[in-house]
């Protein structure tokens, strides 16, 4: 009953719930047995099912439907959905661990799962009325429908208030017109949350959110984007041409767009942070393995102090990133405001991912620049974590705004 992989393992006696591995392949904050088992289960799945295809689906831009079909009964699509809607009812650290472990092997699948759970299902859990929940949660939690969240437009990204898609009331429907771009899961989503400008009773224009099914007439998809990383995810544009959405599919109240959008992005940032963390972890493990194997000057490059310094920095930053992320998750589950901490986690995890993947390529030398090695993919995948779900610049804005709004003591 021994995990031979964890050959260096320290259990701090006074902090039973806090296990730190300093082995070659595991670095985990492990607050509980449940989190450990969730990590093991996801890691086992990812290594068995995703590792063999991760490079190919990246290069060929294949959305791995067969693998996703295996993930559906295992509750990957309903991580935090209550069991009565068919979900797994996990806490936020568990959900982060799942995304982290998927992304450690295949970030594009991690992306599909985190977007579906974090920004499509989550706002329904938080803002939907009971009819909307009964209709959409079982579909989404079982994975029968894949979700997407769609705010970004050609002229509205960081500036979420500049959305130009419109929703005009017509009898018992809203008629949507406009174009959304860079929609993660866009090429395959069955249900999308769409931000559109609506006219309030006082004639003010404010954004609102609509639950839009892909089968509604006037819902059209653009070509799948040819992106630098996360290539197995079908990121696409969505076009709305006189797309009629039932009035009952308005999420929250008319004009709630900003409120729902900001709350959703706070949560989505935890997911992107988890994803970045998983990429960094995978890249570091690859670097450690390579550094021990690669011989130059008749000894492994891991015996060179420069390489040791790189590895020490990677491990330290990953540990710090993990603690920051799990703290934000804990804060969320406690019911407290967690937006600032989510931004910190997202900002830091994504910059760690970029640094660690870059160093990992450096340790691999020429091989790291080749598609023969996974680190080349990790390097490309990491880059976007500093961009989507709010750029690093926007995260700093959110953090600074929170800090500066606190009274000076």
């Amino acid at each position: 009953m021994i995990d031979f992989a964890a050959s260096f393992f320290y259990m701090l006696p006074d902090l039973n719930a806090f296990t730190v591995f300093t082995g070659s392949n595991i670095l985990q904050y492990n607050p509980s047995m449940k989190h450990k088992l969730i990590r093991n289960a996801t890691r086992h799945f990812a290594e068995m099912e995703l590792a063999p295809i991760a490079a190919e689906i990246d290069q060929q831009r294949i959305f791995p439907r067969e693998i996703l079909a295996k993930m559906k009964p295992l509750n990957y699509f309903g991580l935090q959905v209550p069991q009565r809607y068919g979900g797994a009812n996990l806490d936020s650290i568990s959900a982060a661990i799942v995304v982290e472990e998927l992304s450690r092997i295949c970030a594009a699948v991690g992306l599909c799962i985190t977007v579906h759970n974090g920004v499509a299902v989550y706002p329904l859990l938080k803002f939907a009325d009971s009819r909307q929940k009964e209709t959409y949660l079982p579909l989404l939690a079982s994975g029968h429908a894949i979700g997407a969240f769609s705010l970004t437009e050609a002229n509205a990204g960081s500036d979420a208030g500049s959305v130009e898609t419109t929703a005009v009331k017509n009898e018992e429907s809203y008629i949507l017109n406009g174009t959304k771009i860079f929609v993660t899961n866009g090429g395959v989503c069955d249900v999308a949350l769409i931000f559109a400008l609506t006219s309030l009773p006082d004639k003010k224009l404010q954004s609102s959110v609509f639950i839009v099914e892909s089968k509604y007439p006037g819902f059209l998809r653009g070509e799948v984007e040819d992106l630098c990383g996360m290539r197995a995810n079908p990121v696409s544009s969505l076009f709305f041409e006189d797309c009629a959405v039932p009035e009952s599919n308005l999420l929250g109240k008319l004009g709630d767009g900003m409120k729902i959008g900001m709350a959703t992005l706070d949560n989505g940032r935890l997911g992107v942070a988890a994803q970045a963390l998983g990429i960094a972890q995978g890249a570091m493990e690859a670097a450690v393995k390579y550094a021990k194997e690669r011989q130059q000057f008749k000894k492994p490059i891991a015996s060179q102090q420069t390489i040791q310094n790189y590895i020490a920095d990677m491990a330290t930053e990953i540990s710090a990133a993990r603690l920051l992320l799990y703290r934000a998750c804990e804060l969320k589950d406690s019911g407290a405001a967690f937006g600032c901490e989510a931004s910190m986690a997202k900002l830091y995890c994504s910059s760690v991912a970029s640094r660690v993947t870059s160093l990992s390529v450096q340790i691999h030398g020429g091989y790291g620049y080749s598609k023969e090695y996974d680190v080349e993919r990790y390097f490309r995948d990491a880059r976007v974590t500093e961009i989507y779900e709010g750029t690093s610049e926007i995260q700093r804005m959110v953090i600074a705004r929170t800090i500066l709004s606190q009274p000076v003591l």
């Binding site: 009953m1 021994i2 964890a6 289960a41 086992h44």
Partner: protein, 263 residues
């Protein structure tokens, strides 16, 4: 694999502080076999393990996969048990806590010591018919048919329930664990915790059934394989091969293969 583990050279036991627990891979396959029997014929699955308190996670995982009940036997007094003592203790627990069982499934061997002894010894303690290294189980009524692979020979055995079977790594690829299952495993799992006193195992009983063996050294045996090339015409090559090896092959498979020599 065994020699890669952190062994304590003084005591001959595993440094559990340097290793992290997990479900033994062959035991996970035994559980998968049990789950498939449950799905096909209906069953109530009790999972037993003996180990430190942290071994609870093994039972939680088994519960998440579909087991109905878990029993953890944990006691400082039982630490360091060899296969003989372990099978005695497991037998006491089964007799006390799992009445009316039909089938005991064990992993054929553990990844940490690979003795493969506990299952067969447990069958002796429980006085059950047994088969080791099974790769497939089928039932007709209360007759269990076991296919097993030993020394590259496949054989099929039949026995009446109740019986004990150890499951090898050939088959019964374990299912993936679902998150809803894991969540439930931490909400309402039926788990029993038993120490030596609960099982009426006193120190005097334990003395009688205590470990008979002591691990003195763990080492990787140097390979003694040689490639032997026999040349010549096919018939004479076969004769030469049999001359050299028929005794050893016969000893391994337990029957004589003495061939008629060609004239």
């Amino acid at each position: 694999m065994v020699t890669e583990l952190p062994w304590d050279e003084k005591t001959g036991s595993l440094r559990r502080d340097l290793s992290s627990g997990m479900v033994n891979p062959a035991c996970k396959r035994a559980l998968e076999a049990a789950l498939q029997i449950k799905e096909k014929h209906g069953a109530f699955i009790s999972v037993l393990t003996m180990g430190p308190p942290a071994a609870e996670e093994v039972l939680r995982e088994a519960f998440a996969m579909g087991a109905d009940r878990g029993i953890l036997i944990s006691d400082r007094m039982l630490a360091g048990s060899d296969t003989y003592a372990t099978s005695f203790i497991l037998a006491q627990a089964i007799q006390k806590e799992v009445s009316g069982y039909d089938l005991v499934l064990c992993g054929a061997y553990t990844s940490d010591s690979e003795t493969a002894q506990v299952g067969p010894q447990l069958a002796e303690e429980l006085n059950l018919p047994a088969a080791a290294y099974a790769e497939n189980l089928t039932f007709s009524g209360r007759t269990l048919r076991v296919r097993r692979l030993v020394d590259n020979f496949r054989e099929t055995l039949e026995m009446e329930l109740p019986a004990l079977v150890t499951i090898s790594m050939e088959n019964y690829e374990p299912r993936h664990t679902s998150f809803a299952g894991l969540d439930k495993a931490f909400q309402n799992a039926d788990l029993l915790f038993r120490n030596a006193a609960d099982l009426h195992i006193t120190s005097s009983i334990l003395d009688q059934h205590s470990s008979r063996t002591k691990v003195r050294k763990i080492f990787l045996r140097k390979s003694q394989k040689d490639n032997i090339i026999i040349t010549g015409a096919a018939a004479s090559a076969v004769d030469e091969f049999l001359d050299k090896f028929e005794g050893r092959i016969g000893a391994v498979i337990g029957k004589s293969i003495e061939a008629k020599k060609r004239g």
